[in-house]
């Protein structure tokens, strides 16, 4: 239950920082990231499982190996890359939300996650779709996507949470206060020699709410989706 200083802490919080802008930025980044992650991750995972190509497993294994490279190791080249992009196209260069989104939209984890879950997907449905004259993309969007709802829900929660809590990359790539995300804002709140813990805690509660809400909304699907990936 909230203590006696909740209102006061909220007032201080809104007076000291622009939490609205930070929430907005975090939402924009998290929603776009989640959407693109699901789209690309599921297309790739589906492709890896359904189609047969020479060297497919080899490519997939290399992809899995990339999960072992920590982000901190590729951060500096990535920053350099975006620094050079800035000169050509400032819209996706350093200090833009696009730069915070692009490197995070696809990870080997999600391709793996979707491929494992696709193993449960009945291949006969693909054959049936082909016979009935659906295009390959049509099969994906009209048959695969609706039947895999639980997998999508589970992936959505993970992707949203990762993006919402992402700290290191947004920290280095976003500079202006108007592009700040919620974790950066909270980090700044504790930066003074005399931090106001009440305000910091209030901000943390606000920052936690969206992921909690997303989780509760999709909880049923989430558990089903995770079970699926284990069984697969």
């Amino acid at each position: 239950m909230p203590g006696t200083h909740l209102v006061e802490n909220l007032k201080n919080l809104f007076a000291t920082v622009d939490i609205g802008t930070a929430l907005m930025n975090s939402f924009i980044i998290a929603i776009i990231t989640t959407f693109l992650t699901l789209l690309i991750g599921s297309l790739a995972g589906y492709g890896f499982e359904i189609y047969r190509t020479k060297g497919k497993d080899m490519v997939f294994n290399i992809l899995l190996l990339s999960m072992m490279i920590p982000f901190a190791a590729i951060m500096i080249p990535l920053y350099r890359f975006f620094g050079q992009v800035s000169s050509v196209s400032p819209l996706i260069g350093i200090d833009t939300l696009a730069a915070a989104i692009l490197p995070t939209i696809i990870t080997a984890f999600f391709i793996f996650f979707f491929r494992q879950n696709t193993k449960m997907f009945a291949k006969e449905l693909v054959e049936a779709g082909r016979i009935d004259g659906l295009s390959e993309l049509g099969i994906f969007f009209r048959i695969y996507l609706p039947t895999m709802k639980t997998t999508y829900a589970a992936a959505a929660i993970i992707a949203f949470m990762n993006s919402w809590n992402n700290y290191l990359w947004p920290l280095v790539v976003l500079q202006s206060p108007e592009n700040q995300t919620i974790p950066l804002l909270i980090s700044n709140l504790g930066a003074g020699y005399t931090p106001d813990y009440g305000v910091i805690m209030t901000a943390i509660v606000i920052a936690t709410l969206p992921t909690a809400i997303v989780f509760f909304l999709m909880q049923r699907h989430f558990v089903a989706g995770m079970m699926g990936s284990v069984k697969g």
């Binding site: 080899m58 190996l65 500096i76 350093i94 920290l171 500079q175 700044n188 003074g192």
Partner: protein, 441 residues
């Protein structure tokens, strides 16, 4: 099956190695071209002012100081200052990433760096910073600030706040133990330990509060003799470091005789003296506002010079913390340097308002003659606390903090725990030295 798998495995390893080698090769082709396409802003706004960005931490202190500087700036170049607030660790992370990448995109014009970290930036990124020695007179600043802020004879940093230390003590407790102010002026740390024993015996109060993870007190003791964990040429200097040995002996004696109240974080540290538990706080002058925060102890505090180690050349002055301003080598550097030179670099009146409005004591020596510095602080029984601190500041022995202060200290703090539980001092220092050499060579 087994054969097939191992063939695949080797292919993968080869692919991985190729990728790593390629990544390693691509490194230093363009390293030096940092200033060409510039980051920061440095552009001009519609009304012709040069736009300058600055990174700093702490809204109530450094940011407030920058805002004040912006108001009092009256140089020729018109500037528009944008201040970006970040936590100190975040600034370090962002600077390291940006400067390592070599693009300088998104980097600020002005950045605040803590003195003990400055050399690692100046030495790691030689072309990234702009020498600003021409924009102010280095002799106007406390001498101890110059070695950390300069490299190879070039002045890169404009000294900002001082961490000049004082021996803040409770007059009532010390009187009860039989000590007057004069008994506490210009003492040695050995005397400090003796006094601490008396205080404990007669009043029951521990002398000071310490966080075992923070070796600040050792650095304070060491700097009174002008030595550090490293020598000027960067050699790690633990095993034959006489001042460090003596400091550690004092540290152990304080701990063994139960003269220290152990705390585990900052708020407990503050509570230790605000609650009246401990009899003194030997720390940087920035602790004064936290002492004054406890209204009920008004008039019960005073400050004496920092105790020194009993060695030749030791001074009753030391330092804990403090930062300086740096200008990055990108478009807008001249305007940024002019801005700093005009405000922090030469304006004595500005330092008076910096003291009264923000509570920051600068390292600009002429400022100490100004009116605000003469303030007699009733909380400290009418003592001219600021003026005295600014006098001690001028005597702080110079130290080159080198590149690895914090890294060495991590090693040392683990070893010190073993020292406290009985390992011999020689072994402790020899082991720490070996670890540090392995890690930083």
């Amino acid at each position: 099956m087994g054969n097939k798998l191992s063939k695949k495995f080797w292919l993968l390893i080869v692919a991985l190695l190729t990728a790593m080698v390629l990544a390693a090769c691509g490194g230093d082709s363009e390293e030096g071209s940092s200033d060409a396409d510039g980051g920061g802003d440095g552009g001009t706004t519609d009304d012709g002012a040069t736009k300058i960005t600055a990174w700093a931490w702490d809204p109530n202190f450094n940011i407030a100081a920058l805002n004040l500087a912006n108001e009092s700036y009256n140089g020729e170049t018109e500037i528009e200052l944008e201040i970006i607030e970040n936590a100190q660790d975040d600034i370090v992370q962002k600077l390291n990433t940006g400067l390592s990448s070599g693009t300088m995109k998104g980097m600020p014009n002005i950045v605040l760096i803590e003195d003990q970290r400055a050399q690692s930036f100046l030495q790691s990124y030689p072309d990234a910073f702009y020498p600003i020695g021409d924009y102010f007179n280095t002799e106007d600043f406390a001498e101890y600030k110059i070695p950390p802020t300069s490299l190879d004879g070039k002045q890169y940093g404009l000294p900002f706040d001082t961490g000049a230390t004082g021996f803040f003590y409770r007059t009532d407790y010390l009187e009860e133990a039989g000590y007057t102010h004069d008994d506490l002026v210009d003492i040695t740390w050995a005397q400090f330990v003796d006094i601490a024993k008396d205080v404990k015996e007669k009043t029951g109060h521990p002398m000071l509060a310490l966080d075992p993870n923070d070796l600040g007190i050792l650095r304070v003791m060491m700097q009174t003799t002008g030595t550090w964990y490293t020598t000027e040429d960067g050699t790690i200097n633990l095993v034959d470091n006489e001042p460090l040995k003596v400091a550690l002996q004092h540290y152990k004696e304080l701990m063994d005789n139960d003269l220290v109240k152990l705390v585990s974080d900052w708020s407990q540290y503050l509570a230790a003296f605000n609650s009246g538990d401990v009899a003194s706080v030997p720390a940087g002058n920035w602790i004064a506002p936290s002492i004054e925060a406890e209204e009920s102890q008004k008039g019960l505090w005073a400050v004496a010079p920092t105790p020194r180690l009993d060695m030749e050349g030791a001074a009753n002055a030391s330092n804990q913390g403090g930062s300086s301003w740096y200008v990055l080598n990108i478009d807008g550097k001249e305007a940024a340097a002019e801005f700093l030179g005009n405000t922090f670099g030469s304006n004595s009146d500005f330092y008076q308002s910096l003291l009264t409005d923000v509570g920051a004591i600068g390292t600009y020596k002429p400022a100490s003659e100004g009116e605000a510095y003469q303030y007699e602080n009733e909380y400290f029984g009418g003592q001219q606390v600021i003026y005295e601190i600014s006098q001690w500041m001028e005597e702080i022995p110079q130290v080159d903090y080198g590149m690895n202060t914090y890294g060495i200290e991590d090693i040392l703090s683990a070893e010190i725990q073993q020292y406290l539980s009985g390992k011999s001092l020689e072994d402790v220092l020899a082991d720490a030295q070996a670890q540090a050499e392995a890690q930083f060579k």
